[in-house]
């Protein structure tokens, strides 16, 4: 438990000192949504129908931007190697790092999605499903993305490869996340897709840290 706390506080303290690192992805998210609004006809009612997928894809892309930095700095200054050698299990360290990543990038996206949904004229019926879906889905993005970042940490130009590795694995999250909003808009119960997202999240939290830790070890062999 101490390991998790120590890593968490370290990551948060680092983030406090370089605010741009976690503010830029949020700006990017807002800009993607804005560009969709600008690209459509003024006040096009169709835009509200696409709001779930626009918001979900925007969230996916802005998380994708942050992944390359997730382990890179620690890899370059040797911290990561120390963490691999440390007595504390690497799985826990990685889980803490990924949790910190979600707190810094995923959680702000979830909070930002609600006002942006209003801007896209998403009806109020779809709002809770959108925010709940993102709250369950963005940690999955952090964890699966963290796994891909760990796989490519030793590569000089991982930025191009990351989308190819991450996006196919996250397709189900997008399908069920946007599906939950559509179900709520159609007057159906959004619980089923949300439960599915929750199940995926539990699976990710339990299994991905192992895989990511193995991938990090591989980078040092």
């Amino acid at each position: 438990m101490n390991v998790i706390l120590a890593v968490l506080t370290r990551e948060l303290r680092l983030a406090l000192r370089s605010r741009m690192d976690w503010l830029l992805p949020l700006l990017f998210f807002v800009m993607v949504v804005m560009l969709f609004g600008l690209g459509a006809r003024p006040n096009d009612p169709v835009l509200a129908g696409f709001a779930p997928s626009i918001l979900w894809v925007g969230a996916l892309l802005s998380m994708l931007l942050t992944l390359d930095r997730l382990f890179r700095a620690d890899y370059e200054d040797g911290t990561l190697e120390q963490l691999c050698l440390a007595e504390a299990p690497l799985t826990l360290t990685v889980a803490a790092k990924l949790t910190a990543h979600w707190l810094l990038t995923g959680l702000p996206l979830v909070l930002l999605a609600a006002p942006l949904a209003v801007a896209l004229q998403l009806p109020a019926a779809g709002q809770p499903a959108l925010v709940l879906g993102l709250a369950l889905g963005t940690p999955v993005l952090s964890f699966v993305g963290g796994f891909a970042a760990a796989l490519t940490v030793a590569l000089p130009r991982a930025g191009l490869l990351l989308p190819l590795l991450v996006l196919p694995l996250l397709a189900p999250v997008l399908i069920f996340g946007a599906g939950a909003v559509r179900a709520a808009l159609g007057g159906l119960d959004a619980a089923a897709p949300l439960y599915f997202l929750a199940a995926v999240l539990v699976l990710c939290i339990t299994l991905v840290p192992w895989a990511a830790a193995a991938a990090l070890r591989n980078a040092f062999e």
Partner: protein, 249 residues
């Protein structure tokens, strides 16, 4: 432990290379015979479908390709698992040998499905569970191939690919059962279902032949690719030099 010596012998590159060299021609010729029987009968002599007319004949390519796209992914993931757990070099090479073959069959399944979809559904592509998950499968193959090419050290590359393949295997049941789970536009299986198949024997036998033939063909290609992979990796070792000296290359 003496009963396991055959296993260790099999896993050593030189003896596997020799075994593959003996096995591959058999697979290749039997595949050729079965595919010739399956495709000639399927394309020219099998009766027309009462509803789809001649267009259904694409199943003689589409069904084997789609089945292989899933089987090869599972095979790749199993090779990856073996490579991760037992650090077996042969499994690492097998994973790399399988990936492009699997990607090709997935692309073939998608293209043949699209060609069939235009006359039948009126559209080359629909955003439907089966089609989308098969497309995701293609991207998973591309991910493995891309990751493999990004690394310089083949062993680190193989282990990274192995991890990715094992994680990605979660997509396989989604593709396989997408037709049953969701109300998909894609039709359900007509051949592999419990009890009596809903397809006549004159159509079924060429289909079985083309499925088995395609599996054997994939086996042939993978063995040959694996042999190449082993030669490249073990270049400079005594057995490769001896082999190359013999064949005057």
């Amino acid at each position: 432990m003496s009963s396991w010596t055959w296993f260790h012998r099999l896993a050593s590159p030189p003896s596997f290379f020799r075994l593959a060299d003996r096995l591959a021609p058999w697979l290749g010729w039997i595949a050729l015979a079965l595919l010739a029987y399956g495709w000639i009968n399927g394309l020219f002599f099998a009766p027309e479908d009462y509803q789809q007319k001649d267009a259904y004949r694409i199943i003689y390519v589409h069904v084997p390709a789609a089945a292989l796209s899933l089987s090869l992914y599972v095979g790749m993931a199993v090779a990856g698992f073996v490579a991760l757990v037992w650090r077996m070099k042969l499994a690492e090479s097998a994973l790399i040998a399988i990936a492009p073959v699997g990607a090709s069959f997935t692309a073939l399944a998608l293209v043949t499905g699209m060609l069939w979809g235009k006359p039948m559904w009126g559209a080359y592509w629909v955003w439907d569970a089966r089609l989308t998950s098969e497309l995701v499968l293609l991207f998973l193959y591309f991910g493995v191939i891309g990751l493999w090419q990004a690394f310089e050290d083949p062993r680190a590359a193989a282990r990274a690919c192995a991890l990715l393949a094992v994680v990605g295997v979660i997509n396989v049941p989604i593709v396989k059962y997408s037709v049953d789970w969701w109300n998909s536009l894609h039709q359900g299986s007509t051949i592999l279902k419990m009890g009596k198949p809903s397809i006549t024997a004159a159509m079924a036998w060429p289909l079985f032949a083309s499925v088995i033939g395609s599996y054997l063909f994939a086996g042939y290609v993978i063995l040959r690719r694996l042999q190449n992979e082993l030669l490249q990796r073990e270049a400079g070792t005594a057995w490769v030099r001896e082999l190359m000296g013999k064949s005057r290359v």
